[in-house]
Symmetry: C2
Subunit: 208 residues, 2 copies
Amino acid sequence: MTNLNAKKPKPAFSKRKRVPSAQAQEYILQAAGELFYKEGIRAVSVDSVVEQAGMNKMTLYRQFSSKDELILAYLDRQSKQFWEEWEASLAKHPHQPRRQIIQLFTDLADKSSVIGYRGCCFSHIATEFPDPEHPARQLVFAHKKAVIQKLVELTKAMNAPDPEILAHSLALWIEGAYAASQTFGADSDTIRMLPVIVEKLLDEAAPH
Amino acid sequence: MTNLNAKKPKPAFSKRKRVPSAQAQEYILQAAGELFYKEGIRAVSVDSVVEQAGMNKMTLYRQFSSKDELILAYLDRQSKQFWEEWEASLAKHPHQPRRQIIQLFTDLADKSSVIGYRGCCFSHIATEFPDPEHPARQLVFAHKKAVIQKLVELTKAMNAPDPEILAHSLALWIEGAYAASQTFGADSDTIRMLPVIVEKLLDEAAPH
DNA sequence: TATCATTGTTACCGATCAGTAACATCCTAA
DNA sequence: TTAGGATGTTACTGATCGGTAACAATGATA
């Protein structure tokens, strides 16, 4: 009752296995990736990340000094994965920028049609963290800027008369697809039309 | 010390003014509108809404049975405002659907360039409430569907050969503009190009 | 074998959250 | 004048949040 400092002996089951910090970090980032994307970043507690990872909260806080830092690590991972998928799309049609662009959108439409798809995790950040000065927002800014830059390279490579305009048009559709996939779910007319309208735009912007 | 049930007499300043419930509701919805949009819905507490409104928490809970219900009322308001602005854009060029569409995007670009603009509050909901069955999500779904429907009406009115395709193309750009304005802020190349690319698309989709 | 940094575990902190009970005060209508 | 419903105010609940202290167990190295 009054013995506030009582130490419970605890059976000390010692079910615990020692996990090297690098692997623990991996588990935690994987769990964070799933939960943040599925449920939203603010909605996911550090405790639930830890539980999903099968780790202990202290283990997390020994790797990441705060939830914010965990979020940054999460975004870093997502960005790497994004560019891997991007390059995978391009690799299907080497040196054919027009077909590469169409492939990007076809793959995007495919991904958007998977149940559980929730759009772009970077856009989620922009919504969930209104302060543009937040470090996570800076990562979002850099990421989206890089996407436009890569699109410009592609539209230049296909000799579009106005590569900037075309690239921004495409970038807006990418963003739109992210949003639409969230609103309308896996079965969306808009998403289904996406590759078609891109092809039409490319035809008109730079006849081949 | 131990007198837990002590009632503090309170000077009873009686600074309180009685406000009829309808007006209280108005104050609360106005405060909720500002805060939800600016800071995000999950990030805004009921207490802060109440404080911003200059009301008391009980006053809020006598009008809205829960925060969720307040959110629904907030969305209802935003939807009404959205359609008012939409109609205002159309009214600038009666019976000229092509110019009406361009006006919609011009006005959208203008709004997106205002400091503090945070994109589409309905898209925020989709991000912040992952459960598609959430009543707020249903409102978002209905709203976005209505937008596409209205766009189809416009593209049909301008005798586009494929009004559905054109309408969805435009809808994707609207969504994209919302997202881009958040990422890049008030000074965005993408947003600046928006009216131009729309005009180009309209020219090519349905020559006038 | 002894050392000691690393890892595992529990219990806790103060803050904040959505929501409510209980009571004080006011205003209107009869 | 009075009764009673509407409104104002305070203080509270139980849950959850991000983050930490303190200590126990472990295992590689010397």
